[in-house]
Amino acid sequence: MARIEIIDQTLRDGNQSLWGMRMQAGMALPVCDLIDRTGYSVVDFVGSSMFEVMVRHARENPWEGLDLVVQSLPRVRVRAGMRCHGIITMSVTPDDLMDLWVQRLCEHGVRSFWIHDPLHVNVDKLHRLARVANGHGAEVVLALMYSVSPVHTEAFYADAARRLSASPHVDRLILYDMGGIMTPERARAIIPGVVAASNGKPVEVHSHNVTGLAPLVYLEAVNAGLSILHTCSRPLANGSSLPSIDMTLRNLRLHGHTTGIDESLLAPVAEHFERVARAAGFPTGVPVEYDAWMVEHQVPGGMTGTLKNQLAQHGMGERLDEVLMETARVRRELGYPAMATPFSQLVGVLAVMNVVTGRRYGSIPDEVIQYAYGWYGPPVAPLDPEVMDRIDSHPRARDFRGTRPPNPTLAEIRRQYGNVDDDELILRFLVAEDHIEAMKRAGPVRRDYPALGSSELQRVHDMMSASTARYLEVAADGLRLELRR
């Protein structure tokens, strides 16, 4: 019988896993008060990729959206997340800018951070960011990024837990299973060592329900003494997202555990997001069949869709399974990086190119060369010698061998971007200026999102353009539809 703390991931990872981060502030604001009163300790909300997507695709100022959401969540700690060495996919960000990012988020009311390094080697960077966040009164959670490989053993995670939790600025650890590949057995095997090594700091659990096993992992974690779980409102749960709050509560209750969650508030929130999904044409999460291949290739759920699209562009849509298997092989050859940003993308891009061109490592992106030369820290296992040879003999190798990523000071960065305020500076670092201009032209952030109307009309429009008939009449279920040209 334990008291379990629940962290809400509806607005962040549910949105990221199922809606491609397209949730605008106005889609969340109408239910923020309900979420605020549900009894979550923390509501995860933001990250730099979401900032990028909001500016580029929604033409919405993410700082303004963040302020509105933080204001409507006064009772909970709002969380942001980041990779320790980068706020833009694939590249390495200067330390000063990372620190500024944390400071600005704190100024805007973020009170909790989860920070990760997929290789678990840049402990100095992790602890530096932890100190900055802690100094602003925010809680810091460092992540153990779960992966399966000969090097990702129980001892590996216990050791990482010991090193990561060693700073006084680290409040908690989180066991983070982004690929949803943790099995209950592995949870049973890994958790005791992690707990023993975490310097008495609580360990949260975050597992994507990609194989349908995450709820079992949560129960194992609770059996092993952990008591902080991540869940989503039902429409944004399951599939490539996390378990639902509803089922998690049900399962916990059967084991006699309690939470402080007010269950009467769950349904209105879920109904709201269902309406938004319908109106915006976004998918809602459904559980998936247990697919053992997910564990084999470890490609995060959201990324499978990207790979599928890339292959389709080359007219090779039917070769997805081959690419997934190639992904597993490339990952092994690159020394088993955990499949999280930026490595999931690097491995995925290489796998697609290997399959599409028919020549393995025929072309090698700069970032792979940088990785091989330690820009992201030393790989957890050595690269395959043949692949290392290919990298060494690549024309670009001499540009990166023995170098470190540029690490300009904030003063230098400011000089580069002109005299703008810090929030604007960060936006300019994340996206091109014309996107920011377009965002500003689009006006202030909308406070709501019309749940009915536009998408139906869009469908009608699609139907009109798809139909070649001069007249179409369909009748069913007491409804009649007529289409005339």
């Binding site: 329900n209 349908g212 096993l213 995450a214 709820p215 079992l216 129960l219 749960a237 399951n238 378990p243 639902s244 089922m247 049900r250 399962n251 059967l254 084991h255 319908r278 459904v286 559980p287 998936v288 069949e289 247990y290 697919d291 053992a292 291949w293 084999e296 009915l452 139906e456 009309l457 469908r459 009608v460 429009h461 699609d462 139907m463 009109m464 798809a466 139909s467 008939a469 179409l472 369909v474 069913a476 279920d477 007491g478 409804l479 009649r480 539809l481 007529e482 289409l483 005339r484 040209r485």
Partner: protein, 485 residues
């Protein structure tokens, strides 16, 4: 590395679990030639409850439909299933009628049977197996899995020894109606069945209620199961079995082989998806893991029935109480396996106990018959305090004085107005005569079940579903659209 065979459950348990047995022969026939060429070991197709539903609710002659389907699957061994001591209803069916069922089904082309009895009346099971074998069919003897302190691996080992002793039993079928056979249990269970099964192949049939059956199947193969029951994707998952599609993927990863022509699966699934969409039938989706499934072990379809019963008493909010009560009643009644007729019997008692507010104040006749051993010896004794209530029930004396009869076929014929035609006699054993007359009045078998398929029509249906207004008119320069309710 094993060679795995598949038994298709699309037409039988897939539609029983998801469509309430409402699949008309005309809905299946377009897919039958494909299923026939897919390479299944057996295609399960029918049972007496399907006969009942087709007559009562679809007004369709089940013999006629069966003939058509068997004719459309000339390469396949088509299966029927039966309880050892009854067709449909709670009542005990005379042996002579059961034997007649088997013979008539064989005359119509059935070449495989699965025979079950939750209380393991081995004599009756063996007698039916002999009748089937004499008529040219193979027989799977079912071992109904249930989770309780008395249903140990040793218990099932002993049943496997008894069942397999007859030369007329060809395979042993581990049958998990409630989907509560967990991956960590299946190994030791299969080992016991195998050790006592005289080398007969072992089939596994597990409803994917918790989402774990897929995984259970993989574990089972590692321990010697070589025959899996699956369904086409739209009729798989949720209360049904794992899909054929996912199992082929998963067994390939473990290096097992199969004889299924995967190219045909997509067409079959597309057909049943179109049928489901057009006729408003449910498509199976995986469930999120729900721990409570293990506690009450209620078959998937029955939860809906319980909900309806409670709604009739204006107590729909008490479903969770009834589910809890089901677990208690099952224990008190000596842990009968939760399958027809006992799942209903336990469920009805639980509803009565909750609705009346006084436990065991109302005792259905069937519970008295069960306690008197009319269905066979109970697995564990009925608890004394409940036995007292049963013996004190008003109907107890009367029921005790009239144990089930076992009239000869001649006697059965005489009681049914000397019906000359055996097929007709069997229909009368299943439904009241007025239902048979109504079925005849409905005319010949309906073969045509058109499906909507154009994208425009799909859009229109979708639009009709989401539009709330009674009247919608949209006009552009080119087109005008009207929608009215």
């Amino acid at each position: 590395m094993a060679h795995i065979e598949f038994i298709d459950q699309t037409l039988r348990d897939g539609q029983q679990s998801l469509w309430g047995m409402r699949m008309r022969a005309g809905m299946a026939l377009p897919a039958c030639p494909l299923i026939d060429r897919t390479g299944y070991r057996v295609v399960d197709c029918t049972g007496s409850s399907i006969f009942e539903v087709l007559i009562k609710y679809c007004r369709e002659n089940p013999w006629e439909g069966l003939d058509r389907m068997i004719a459309a699957m000339p390469r396949s061994r088509v299966r029927a299933g039966m309880r050892s001591n009854a067709c449909v209803t709670f009542a005990i069916t005379p042996d002579a009628v059961m034997d007649l069922w088997v013979r008539r089904l064989c005359a119509h082309g059935i070449r495989s049977f699965w025979i079950y009895d939750v209380l393991f009346n081995i004599d009756k099971m063996h007698r039916l197996a002999r009748v089937a074998k004499e008529a040219g069919a193979e027989v799977a003897g079912a071992i109904n899995f249930s989770s309780s302190p008395v249903h140990t691996d040793e218990y099932y080992g002993a049943r496997a020894a008894e069942l397999s002793a007859s030369p007329d039993v060809d395979t042993l079928l581990i049958y998990d109606t409630a989907g509560c056979l967990r991956p960590e249990r299946v190994g030791s269970l299969v080992a016991q069945v195998r050790a006592n099964g005289r080398g007969k192949p072992i089939e596994l049939h597990s409803h994917n209620v918790t989402g774990l059956s897929t995984w259970t199947y993989l574990e089972a193969i590692r321990h010697g199961v070589t025959i899996l029951h699956t369904a086409a994707r739209p009729l798989a998952n949720g209360p049904s079995m794992p899909s054929t599609e996912i199992m082929l993927r998963n067994i390939a990863l473990d290096g097992h082989t199969h004889g299924i022509d995967e190219a045909l699966l997509g067409q079959v699934s597309a057909h049943f998806e179109a049928i489901a969409r057009t006729y408003g039938l449910r498509v199976g989706v995986p469930n999120e893991f729900d721990l409570s499934a293990y506690a009450h072990q209620i078959p998937g379809g029955m939860t809906g029935t319980l909900r309806n019963q409670l709604a009739q008493h204006g107590m729909a909010d008490r479903l969770d109480d009834v589910l809890d009560e089901t677990a208690v009643v099952r224990k008190e009644l000596g842990y009968p396996g939760m399958m027809t007729p006992f799942s209903q019997l336990v469920g009805v008692s639980a509803v009565m106990n909750i609705v009346t507010g006084k436990r065991w104040s109302v005792i259905p006749d069937e519970v008295i018959q069960y306690a008197l051993g009319y269905y066979g010896t109970t697995v564990a004794p009925v608890e004394p305090h409940v036995m007292e209530r049963i013996e004190a029930a008003p109907r107890y004396r009367e029921i005790k004085a009239s144990p089930p009869e076992n009239p000869s076929l001649e006697e059965v014929r005489r009681r049914n107005g000397n019906v000359a035609d055996d097929d007709e006699l069997l229909l009368r054993a299943v439904v009241p005569i007025h239902d048979i007359e109504a079925m005849r009045a409905a005319g010949p078998l309906r073969l045509d079940f058109p499906t909507l398929s154009s994208p425009e029509a799909d859009f229109a249906r979708e639009l009709m579903r989401i539009a709330n207004s009674r009247y919608v008119q949209v006009a552009s320069a080119e087109l005008s659209l009207e929608l009215s309710r």
